[in-house]
């Protein structure tokens, strides 16, 4: 683990780690980990995803929202 300034640790892309190359928009169990409570997509600097997988993830989440698998906005805020 590299350390920056003695605090932050280098995050590793979970998809790279597990060699997942295709992110299914119907699999909300995975997608749900990368949205906030409010339903916003978690940025890369927080989740630690690599650019390639973040792009795929973003597409998948947006597709999931269209097909009502994921919410555009969290229920508690409606």
């Amino acid at each position: 683990m590299r350390e920056y300034g003695g605090r932050k640790r280098k995050k590793v892309c979970r998809f790279c780690e597990n060699k997942i190359n295709y992110i299914d928009f119907k699999d909300d169990r995975i997608l749900r980990r990368f949205v906030t409570d409010r339903g916003k997509i978690v940025p890369r600097r927080i989740s630690g995803n690599c650019a390639k997988h973040q792009r795929k993830l973003t597409t998948a989440i947006k597709r999931a929202r269209h097909i009502a698998i994921m919410a555009f906005e969290s229920e508690s805020f409606r």
Partner: protein, 188 residues
């Protein structure tokens, strides 16, 4: 010929036969246009993340198929004209075809409300790359006896530096100037 995936939601209030008819209608449409269905998945009734046309639940079904692009406008027209299709999504499919195991997994999670915790799919499979640092053959030519290299243990040293003694914080006197001093003994 390209590979597509079409997913749609059918109004679940219809009876099973009617739902089945709607699903097969899509399959027929693809086949009639020379398409070939590679994977059919009836996910089943699940809760919608938000209401669509007053519906709270929807019957999800999905097809992965190879077809010419001419089938897409027909498919879309079909979805639009027929009443029971609540929502649809057709995309270019570039992933691997789902195995039967994944399919059952998905159905299991969708039919019931969040079953027993499944082992996390992204739990790291611990690909422990043990780099065996086996030394090459010991060089016998060297007469010099090498000292055993004492490697420092690679444990991360997280011992916090003994911090410089902080300047004693000036004990803030609990003076609240805004409030009316009810304990105004000191001010005498």
């Amino acid at each position: 010929m390209r590979r597509y995936e079409t997913t749609f939601i059918v109004n679940p209030q219809a009876d099973d036969a009617a739902i089945d008819q709607q699903v097969t209608a899509v399959a027929d449409l693809i086949k009639n246009d020379g398409g070939q269905i590679l994977n059919e998945r009836r996910i089943g009734t699940r809760r919608l993340a938000y209401q669509i046309a007053g519906l709270v639940q929807g019957f999800y079904a999905s097809f992965i198929f190879d077809a010419e692009s001419t089938v897409l406008p027909k498919l879309e027209r079909h979805y639009k004209l027929e009443e029971p299709y609540v929502r649809y999504l057709t995309i270019r499919f570039d992933g691997p075809l789902p195995s039967t195991e994944e399919e059952t997994n998905l159905i299991a999670t969708d039919e019931k409300t969040k079953p027993v915790e499944k082992p996390d799919t992204d739990a790291p499979a611990e690909t422990a790359k043990t780099e065996a640092k086996s030394d090459p053959e010991p060089v016998a030519d060297k007469p010099v006896t090498e000292e055993p290299v004492t490697e420092a243990p690679a444990t991360e040293k997280l011992t916090p530096e003994p911090e410089a003694p902080k300047a004693p914080e000036p004990q803030a006197e609990p003076v609240k100037p805004s409030e009316p001093s009810d304990s105004a003994d000191e001010e005498l």
